[in-house]
């Protein structure tokens, strides 16, 4: 759009190799980004997209040593030959984890951090800090400590903290990774608003394409295997199959249109579901596709596994975290628990596992009261997998890690070996049994933690955010694995912020808000209910919008039709 201008970021035949790596992570990068542009850098995990970002803000090579060749000019600065400090005056980086990057002890202090480091006099510092806080709408919380803020507010603080330097370039490294769906949507709106107010250049590194496309993006740069594969307008890129081929999930409505046989072309403007151009024939095709097949009915009468009756709990008196929760989990189910942070989801799983003792109410497992059983007893039939595998793994070797719980149960070494090897086979980890844990990828570590729980033969597994921060490939890998476990008869409960996960893998969703169970119905129905979506900070699915635009009723049936088709495609391979 501003071709005549000089680029603000310019890569020329650029490559980068970490000192610890044998091969360069980036090769032959040629990329120009112009002032005021909004660019999305997409790519699967390990594609090099974060390395690319690191080269722009100076973390590479100044913090992570490595070798650059070719040239990279960032806002007139020869990046590989400057310093992280010099670059920080031009590029403001908002990192992935809003908690981890909170440096100050209060909001004001955190925003002022960069100014403190530049030795700015205090009065001036206070006024600039206030100004930056107003820009992101956090000015009423200047005295708040980080733990008093929500995830979205923390992200606002991080953004204000880089805005104080009047940077020309804002770089967001996976800004959506740790946010609930509604907050993620607000984050994208905030980025858009700031970009318009300040006319900065915005770079967003994300693999959650559909969520970023909520607001306008000028270009998408697709990165994989250290190379730039595409540098196109979103409408053009969505018209190709490059995204799916490189392990990035297309927006669901685009996939639905493909299933219905609609040719996606730039002239249809596919980057937003609302402004997408759907003519009569397109609508007809979607309707026909919808009616093509009857939805399969659930079969059999389910048997209750876990019955929760009138459960209440609070960490402090008079502040109940859970209020009068009653629900039943049936054998062989796959259920998701959703709701905003602090709604009581994790607390519920802690009560089920016995980490905390309920103030009121009963828990029945296979009809037996759980109240007299401690964590260790319950662990024999209820497994709990934490979000972060690094928090669970306590042994250096995979075999020992999986065997840990058995070693404490007094089995003989032969019995243990047999049991562990069987579990490792189920989890696809048998070839790695004698490897150190540190040699595994994040997804594999996750598997190890699941295996170490499975080895006790639990009937129920509870997983906290099983796919957080995973790209589509690893997401599918973990979720398909959980599905096979489920088909082997293990009941699975997942706490998640991922609306896709909930739609695709769990027929039933439990929605929590302020410690109460506010809905217990099919995942598709939840994501088509606008009032529920607002109350629980969820995000409606674009399939719902698409169904409405084509006059398909009920929209949740359309969503379910899509999920079934998607399932078939996935099972049979594309």
């Amino acid at each position: 759009m501003t071709e005549q201008n000089l680029p603000v970021i310019s890569f020329k035949d650029f490559s980068f190799q970490y000192r610890a790596q044998k091969k360069p992570t980036l090769t032959g990068i040629n990329l120009d980004i112009y002032p005021g542009e909004r660019v999305l850098i997409a790519g699967p995990s390990g594609s090099g997209k974060s390395t690319l970002a690191g080269c722009i803000n100076g973390l590479n090579p100044f913090s992570n040593p490595g070798e650059c060749t070719g040239s990279l000019i960032v806002d007139g600065v020869d990046a590989p030959h400057s310093s992280i400090f010099e670059l920080s005056a031009h590029v403001g980086t908002v990192l992935q984890d809003p908690d981890g990057q909170f440096i100050g002890l209060t909001v004001g202090e955190d925003i002022a951090f960069a100014l403190e480091n530049s030795c700015m006099p205090q009065e001036q510092m206070h006024s600039i800090t206030r100004h930056a806080a107003e820009l992101v709408g956090i000015q009423d919380h200047l005295d708040y400590a980080p733990h008093e803020l929500s995830g979205g507010q923390k992200q606002r603080v991080s953004l204000a903290g880089v805005m104080v330097d009047q940077v020309k370039i804002l770089l967001f490294d996976e800004p959506l990774a740790n946010l609930d769906p509604a907050t993620g949507k607000q984050a994208i709106e905030l980025i858009d608003e700031i970009q318009q107010k300040t006319d900065t250049t915005v770079l967003i590194i994300e693999h959650r394409l559909e969520d970023v496309l909520w607001k306008n993006v000028d270009r998408i740069v697709l990165v994989n295997e250290g190379k730039i594969l595409a540098d196109l307008h979103p409408d053009e890129l969505l018209s190709t199959t490059l995204l799916a081929d490189n392990g990035i999930r297309e927006p669901l409505y685009v996939t639905a249109m493909r299933y219905a046989g609609i040719e996606i072309a730039p002239c249809k403007k596919p980057s937003h579901v609302n402004s997408l151009i759907l003519d009569q024939t397109d609508q007809k095709m979607l309707q026909n596709w919808f009616h093509q097949k009857e939805l399969s009915e659930p079969s059999g009468t389910p048997e209750p596994l876990l019955e929760i009756k009138n459960l209440s709990f609070g960490y402090t008196r008079n502040h109940p975290t859970l209020k009068d929760v009653t629900l039943t989990i049936y054998k062989g189910e796959m259920v998701s628990i959703v709701g905003r942070n602090g709604a009581g989801k994790s607390t519920l799983s802690k009560l089920i596992c016995g980490f905390e003792t309920p103030d009121q109410g009963t828990l029945l497992f296979n009809g037996r009261d759980l109240s007299g059983e401690n964590i260790r007893h319950r662990a024999k039939y209820i497994g709990y997998v934490m979000q972060n595998p690094n928090q669970m793994i306590s042994k250096t070797m995979i075999f020992d890690e999986v065997a840990l719980s058995l070693r404490n149960s007094g089995m003989t070494e032969d019995q243990i070996r047999e049991k562990v090897e069987n579990t490792l086979k189920i989890c696809g980890l048998y070839p790695f049994r004698n490897w150190p844990v540190s040699a595994l990828s994040f997804g594999q570590k996750k598997r190890v933690t699941i295996a170490s729980v499975l080895v006790q033969d639990p009937e129920l597994i509870i997983l906290d955010e099983p796919t957080a921060g995973q790209d589509f490939y690893h997401y599918t890998e973990i979720m398909e694995f959980l599905r096979t476990l489920n088909q082997r008869g293990v009941t699975v409960i997942m706490i998640t912020h991922d609306m896709h996960l909930m739609l695709e893998y769990t027929p039933r969703a439990l929605v929590f808000s302020d410690g109460q169970l506010i809905a217990d119905r099919s995942a598709a129905a939840v994501l088509c209910d606008e009032s529920l979506i607002t109350q629980a900070a969820l995000k409606e699915t674009s399939l719902f919008t698409l169904a409405n635009r084509c006059g398909i009723t009920p929209p949740e049936a359309f969503v379910e039709r899509f999920i079934e088709e998607d399932r078939e495609v996935r099972d049979n391979g594309r």
């Binding site: 981890g100 530049s118 260790r376 928090q391 669970m392 793994i393 719980s405 404490n408 170490s452 729980v453």
Partner: protein, 276 residues
């Protein structure tokens, strides 16, 4: 979850809290020095009165700093015990007389002089302790680094101390969840387990705890560097407050107390001798 940190900031509305961090640190140093140079019981009692008064002014309750108190008392007890074991006649050396109260065993006689000497040592602890606790519990952690920096300690050192303090609650939370997950895998960490097997099993928590903490450190140090930490030799502080009249008064009091303690020491010697 109630964060029961061992040492934490206890916000109150008190004169002590309103003093700047620098004042509190300087007063703490002056005061400790004043109490360290003298063994004069009267001087120590006087300082003790100031110390207790300051503690009362801060509106912090003893129960809130109980852990620290108990820790220091145990330490004091051990200290006294070892002083006695190593040299039961130190008091006689110092005061020149030998009044045996009772014979204990072997070469150990309990003398009035030794007892008095150890009472004085204990007094020193009691003088310094409340002020030390106040410095930590009544100084806003944000000002902590600034105050260390203001007396010439590199801001990098000051900042790492304050970041460490800030992360204590997070690490406690990590510890808690890791320990729960370990218990769910049959590692016994509950209260009804034998002390040594609990200790042995705690090792299982250590590795994940270290790994998670290293991750945290990596993120925060990247975030700090990206925002120019360490760019200059100096930095300014968002929370640093200007000196008020009460700060000058406090510092003056600190200097006076030190001078008083010094004068008494120089004129009358380090020890008050009731035995001659």
């Amino acid at each position: 979850m109630a964060a029961n940190t061992v040492l934490n900031y206890l916000p109150r509305k008190s004169v002590i809290h309103r003093l700047t961090g620098t004042t509190k640190l300087a007063f703490f140093l002056l005061f400790t020095f004043a109490s360290m140079i003298t063994y004069n019981t009267w001087v120590l009692l006087g300082l003790l009165a100031v110390s207790i008064a300051a503690f009362r002014l801060s509106k912090i309750k003893i129960r809130e700093v109980r852990f620290m108190m108990i820790f220091m008392l145990v330490f004091l007890l051990l200290n006294n015990l070892f002083i006695f074991l190593f040299d039961p006649n130190q008091g006689t050396h110092l005061y020149g007389t030998h009044h045996v109260l009772c014979h204990l065993f072997w070469r150990y006689d309990l003398t009035a002089e030794q007892l008095f000497y150890m009472v004085n040592i204990s007094l020193k602890y009691f003088v310094a302790l409340p002020v030390a606790i106040l410095f930590i519990s009544a100084t806003d952690p944000s000002e902590f680094a600034a105050s260390l920096n203001s007396i010439g300690i590199s801001y990098k050192v000051g900042y790492s101390v304050s970041i460490a303090l800030r992360y204590i609650p997070d690490i406690q939370r990590d510890y808690h969840s890791i320990s729960q997950a370990q218990q769910a895998r049959g590692v016994e960490l509950g209260k009804n387990e034998k002390f040594f097997s609990r200790l042995k099993n705690s090792v299982n928590i250590l590795l994940p705890l270290i790994l998670t903490s290293l991750n945290r450190i990596d993120t925060i140090s990247n975030a700090m560097e990206l925002r120019g930490f360490g760019k200059n030799k100096k930095r300014t502080w968002y929370t640093q407050r200007p000196f008020a009249r009460r700060d000058f008064l406090t510092l003056a009091l600190g200097v006076l107390l030190l001078l008083f303690s010094l004068t008494v020491t120089i004129k009358c010697g380090r020890f008050y001798n009731p035995f001659c």
